[in-house]
């Protein structure tokens, strides 16, 4: 039952902000957060208030508190919908979700182990990056957002392919065909489409749907001649000698 | 702020201060009649018919004593948990139990007369009248039983709120009409013969946001010369015309004890144990006595020139009816006194009236009083 007697600093707004930025640079994120919150508390109206709100989100992100960061971002967007910094807010939201579930190993070595993991955070990141690309195309964050969005789309497609391959190995050919169809329909512009076509053709062949198998194999051969599946399908007499 | 902070719901009781005695109260006799309320928050009251006093205890003990000298006439140990009683009259002594059973005994010998079943738990003493025995149960029902056979004559239901006080108003019988105060702040007049509703009058409205603020139980109404006086917790003190239920006057006051009426004044004990005298014609305050705040005073009674009321430590406090000053104090035991003292003329050579006080430990004491010449 002790009082939380934190010392109330009576600083002008600039001093709060300056100290907070230096704390951020020094990597002391928690201290930066307390300073910025106090700035918001004492000067809720000044020039620095809005800036503090977005910087505190960045501080939360750097200190690993992704949920607090997202909450701060959403509040900033609601309060200042037309502020030019909103583009950065969406971009930051994408970054927070992008790195949310990365384990220490992945973070330090950048090992791409995102594959096959819970993708809820990744889908949120994708939505945020796509917002930046569509609503703020000429903001400085647009190019990086587009790049990261494509990376995420490709990775989500490859997830589906690995699941399709799992079901093919276990003889669940309807499941394989469904997953491949999903990739072709949802992620048409990703390289994974080649594997989807190849696997689907083989699944059709295993189910005795020769006509479908041949058509799919032909589409694969025409669009992705270099795909390893083309060779396998030739060997399996699905594709003719041409 | 310690771990077991001594949080209390109510402020501590006021200390007793010295006073200038103007009344001499002496104890005539005193007996332990049983286990009293057995530690539960019940209100058991003594009853009197002629020269006999009847008392009931939670452990099932019912006894009759000679009023003048306290000799025990008869003693019964019923196998039930008595939560309401005792009522005496028409040759019967009636008590009621936790599970709603109504037990009637013969007043002279204590032998069983009849038993009956009320619809729910009964915590208010039954009322015995020429036409029957009337019992108000906790679920808002009033049930009438035949005097001689105990069979049910009629039953009147009434709405009751989700949260109520653990008290039920004892009905009042006058001239063929039963007046009952309910837990939703309404006073109802019922025809004693068939339970037909004569009128309903809202003495007080529940107000406030939640169940506790909306608590508004009415207490035992008092009838005198065609006027019914009612009071309620979080409610008001009001006087209503007995035949129509029209409210003559009303004062916002919170009291869950029954009142005492005498001469031109109505004596009320409020929820915080302030004793007040109101003019029964207008409800204006004659006097207010704040010396006993939070001493959880019981219901008041009139004894000669004084108003007598018991407190949580077994003291009887005697106040002057005219001025409200403390005129006497007599301790009768350890347990609290909740029921109104019973003032009855005992006959015999002295001719004066005795005051019978029952504590929650089951101790019954007879007191007499006479003024001290200045």
């Amino acid at each position: 039952c002790g009082r939380d007697h934190h010392k109330v600093r009576h600083w002008p707004a600039q001093r709060f902000y300056a100290h907070a930025v230096s704390a951020l640079k020094a990597g002391n994120y928690h201290h930066a957060v307390t300073l910025l919150e106090e700035l918001e508390g004492s000067y809720p109206y000044g020039r620095y208030a809005a800036q503090a709100e977005i910087v505190v989100a960045y501080a939360y992100y750097k200190s690993g508190e992704s949920d607090a960061a997202i909450a701060a971002i959403k509040r900033f967007i609601r309060l200042h919908p037309t502020d030019p910094r909103v583009a950065y807010a969406y971009y930051l939201e994408g970054l927070v979700n992008f790195n949310k579930n990365k384990s220490i190993i992945e973070r330090t070595f950048g090992v791409n182990q995102l594959r096959g993991r819970d993708s809820t955070a990744l889908r949120a990141a994708l939505r945020a990056f796509e917002t930046v690309v569509t609503k703020y195309p000429h903001s400085i964050y647009a190019t990086d957002s587009a790049e990261r969005a494509n990376y995420l789309i490709d990775m989500l497609a490859r997830n589906d392919i690995s699941v399709a391959r799992y079901y093919y190995i276990h003889g669940a050919y309807v499941a394989t065909a469904d997953r491949c169809k999903r990739v072709i329909e949802h992620y048409p512009r990703t390289p994974a489409v080649a594997d989807a076509l190849g696997l689907m053709a083989m699944a059709y062949q295993r189910m005795g749907m020769v006509h479908l198998s041949r058509d799919t194999a032909r589409i694969l051969a025409r669009n992705f001649p270099a795909s390893p599946y083309v060779k396998r399908l030739r060997r399996a007499h699905v594709l003719g000698g041409s | 702020c310690g771990l077991f902070s001594s949080a209390r719901n109510v402020a501590p009781p006021a200390k007793l201060k010295p006073f200038h005695a103007r009344l001499k109260v002496t104890r005539v006799w005193s007996h332990d009649t049983g286990n009293g309320t057995g530690g539960y928050d019940l209100v058991l009251r003594p009853a009197q018919v002629g020269g006999t006093i009847f008392v009931a205890n939670e452990n099932g003990v019912v006894a009759a004593y000679k009023a003048r000298n306290g000799h025990m006439l008869w003693h019964r140990h019923l196998k039930a948990q008595i939560t309401a009683g005792a009522a005496a009259g028409q040759g019967l002594v009636v008590v009621a139990t936790r599970r709603g059973r109504v037990l009637a005994l013969k007043a002279d010998t204590g032998a069983n007369a009849w038993t009956a079943q009320a619809p729910s738990e009964v915590v208010a003493a039954p009322v015995i009248a020429p036409h029957g025995v009337y019992v108000a149960s906790l679920d808002g029902h009033v049930t009438a039983f035949g005097l001689s056979h105990g069979r049910r004559l009629w039953m009147a239901a009434h709405t009751h709120p989700a949260l109520t006080l653990f008290l039920t108003a004892r009905p009042t019988y006058a001239a063929g009409i039963l007046y009952e105060g309910y837990a939703n702040g309404e006073l109802v007049a019922l025809r004693a013969r068939n339970g037909e509703r004569v009128w309903t009058s809202a003495v007080a409205q529940p107000r406030g946001g939640d169940a506790v603020e909306r608590l508004i139980d009415l207490a035992h109404p008092i009838y005198a010369q065609n006027i019914v006086y009612a009071d309620g917790y979080h409610g008001a003190v009001a006087a209503l015309a007995a035949h129509s239920g029209r409210i003559l006057w009303g004062r916002p006051l919170s009291s869950y004890r029954s009142m005492a009426l005498g001469g031109q004044a109505l004596y009320v004990v409020t929820a915080h144990s302030r004793v007040m005298a109101l003019a029964n014609a207008s409800g204006g305050t004659l006097w207010a006595q704040k010396a006993f705040l939070n001493r959880r005073l019981g219901s008041p009674a009139l004894a000669g020139p004084a108003v007598v009321v018991g407190d949580l430590a077994g003291y009887t406090q005697w106040l002057s009816r005219r001025t409200g000053e403390l005129v006497a104090r007599k301790r009768v035991g350890e347990g609290a006194i909740r029921a109104a003292p019973l003032v009855a003329s005992v006959g015999g050579h002295k001719g004066g009236s005795y005051v019978f006080v029952l504590t929650t430990t089951g101790r019954l004491t007879a007191l007499t009083f006479r003024p001290i010449r200045p």
Binding site: H170, G171, A172, Y173, V174, A175, A177, K181, I184, E185, Y204, M207, G208, M209, L212, D215, T216, I219 | -
Partner: protein, 97 residues
């Protein structure tokens, strides 16, 4: 080797005799779905070809497979290729012991 346990793999639509009885050329796509349920295979590149396929592979027992194809023209069932056969009742009732 026979000792190895492989979980049972079931795929595709279960077809009952009553469904087959109700099936006839000329039905709209919705009517077919109401009768047989959605097709197991609906190739993205052949919108008007529905394949009803069923297979059950249980430990060390030969795989059971049923397959027939429905072709639609202008939204109506035009051709049925392959003979729709009801799935044996005891099979689809079987569950993994």
């Amino acid at each position: 080797c026979h000792l190895l346990y492989r979980p049972t793999v079931q795929q595709g639509n279960v077809i009952t005799a009553r469904m087959i009885a109700r099936l006839h050329v000329g039905m709209t796509k919705n009517e077919v779905v109401y009768d047989l349920g959605a097709p197991a295979i609906h190739d993205p590149f052949h919108p008007n070809r529905w394949d009803y396929y069923y297979s059950l592979k249980r430990n060390y027992k030969p795989r059971i497979a049923e397959h027939f194809t429905l072709y639609f023209k202008k939204g109506r069932l035009a051709r049925i290729v392959g003979t729709p056969r009801p799935t044996p009742r005891h099979i689809y009732g079987e569950s993994d012991s």
